[in-house]
Symmetry: C2
Subunit: 306 residues, 2 copies
């Protein structure tokens, strides 16, 4: 693993590659660059197409699983299918960041199609960090797709972050929830330059007392553009909440098109969206504390994206 791969690994998975007891699979330029199983977590290569199956045994508690994907140079167009089977009562954290580095005029692209099958009462925290780097002129592209089937009483939390360097991204997440299943998605996006980012959520609240809480926070700087789509279908007694807050700066443009559909009288659905620039009073307050305007802006954006 060269320095670029090591740097990407650290950025997307907070991991320097040192020995670990956790299960992991490192994908580098469409090849497997390392894998480790544990007693409870088995990772297997798919035989019919690129990708892996990650099988978590029933009742597995507290394990962390690393599934980073790296594209280290231009001209690579990676496509991978990863399926996660999470056993009953399991409670795990999955870190599945993706880093793309472009060093030439060709693009560097990663397309990850991830499916999650949560058995009854399973609990997953899924952390996905996307980052682009390198001096090449080729586009850095990351298009993640996530499908979630959540059985009774299961819980899925998805934290996705794309802070810099990705020129184009289309992110699609779809979830189907059974009785008392709960989905939480927290998305943070910052675009700059001429970048484009599109997010699309689709959630079917099919189970009694199922619930979804979708929160997107984004910042669009320079000439970047963002599109936020979400669709929450309340098909049972359920609760759905979707929220899109965006800060625009410079010539940034953001559109939000959220849809809520109540198809059952016991569905309760709420959506909120707000798009605007940083409030002048906030800037002035920080500037009276001695910060320059640029520093104040940076501080506010950092706070907004946490």
């Amino acid at each position: 693993m060269d320095n670029i791969a090591k740097k990407l690994l650290e950025l997307v998975a907070d991991w320097k590659g040192e020995p670990t007891k956790s299960a992991f699979n490192i994908r580098e330029d469409s090849e497997c660059a390392g894998r480790q199983n544990t007693e409870n977590v088995r990772i297997e290569s798919k035989t019919d197409r690129p990708g892996i199956d990650i099988i978590v045994k029933n009742n597995t508690k507290g394990e962390k699983i690393y599934i980073p994907a790296l594209v280290t140079h231009s001209g690579v167009k990676d496509l991978v299918y990863n399926d996660f089977y999470i056993g009953e009562n399991a409670d795990v954290t999955i870190v599945a960041g993706c880093g793309v580095n472009s060093d030439g005029c060709d693009g560097a692209e990663h397309n990850g199609i991830h499916r999650f099958f949560l058995e009854k009462n399973a609990r997953v925290v899924y952390v996905e960090k996307h980052i682009g780097m390198g001096e090449g002129t080729g586009e850095r592209i990351i298009n993640p797709q996530t499908y979630i089937e959540a059985a009774e009483d299961s819980y899925m939390e998805m934290e996705t972050t794309q802070i810099k360097g990705v020129d184009s991204t289309k992110r699609f997440s779809k979830a189907i929830l059974q009785d008392r299943a709960k989905l939480v998605i927290k998305e943070k996006i910052m675009t700059h330059g001429k970048q484009y980012a599109e997010t699309s959520f689709e959630v079917d609240l099919n189970g009694t007392d199922s619930s979804a809480h979708l929160v997107s926070r984004s910042v669009a700087r320079d000439d970047s553009k963002q599109l936020f789509l979400s669709k929450v279908n309340g098909n049972a007694k359920c609760a759905g909440h979707s929220e899109c807050d965006a800060i625009i700066m410079d010539n940034g443009c953001v559109s939000a098109i959220p849809e809520i559909s109540a198809n059952c009288v016991d569905a309760a659905l709420i959506h909120e969206a707000a798009i605007g620039k940083i409030a002048g009073e906030q800037l002035i307050k920080l500037m009276t504390l001695g910060l320059t305007e640029k520093e104040a802006e940076t501080r506010i954006v950092e706070g907004f994206l946490e």
Copy 2:
């Protein structure tokens, strides 16, 4: 004018047809059933297509103008183009309700295409009540389209109400606002039986300090369906707010698809939507005061729709 027409007139325009000093034009089954001009308000039939021009002189203050349209029996499919020219500094109220009565198996339908041209600093309150009645099995259909061009410093307030009897409605409203122009839309809809109601707002906030405030409140009962669409484009320093609150009862279904697009860094846009049934606590509170469940529901719905 027969009793049905008189009844419709009273329902949609709160007017029993008694002498008035106001300007008015009564459209009945695609014909003109009465017209009156005033010194400041001139109403003229169009020569190229069905409909009228309503011309309000500059500086006209405090006049009320009645433009009701009535379809009194089955088999009538009315189409009308009404253009309103509101002079500089004018301040008027326009009452333009529409009533359709079906007494047979054929439908009774009214399609009104209304255009408003507000000159600088003009101010219009536009009240539109839609109602269907009669014992016929034919569908009562009302499809209003409203186009608004609002010049600098003008103000347009649109209050539309459709409480009962309309089997199908598609309501489209589009507005383009110049500097400091302000648009307020307050919509109230209740559907029952197998009725369908669709609302679509599209607002271009093109002028500096222009603003829009769109509020839709609706109740879907029985097997009725409603679709709410809105699109607010912030193309300048502007403020846009759109809000959709819906109560669902029985098997009623409501979808809301609001879009906000900030194409200028100084655009501030907000959207809120909430769909759900009447909260149990609200019902119980009123029932402890001695109301039956049905009475409590009715009271809450009335309050919600004001």
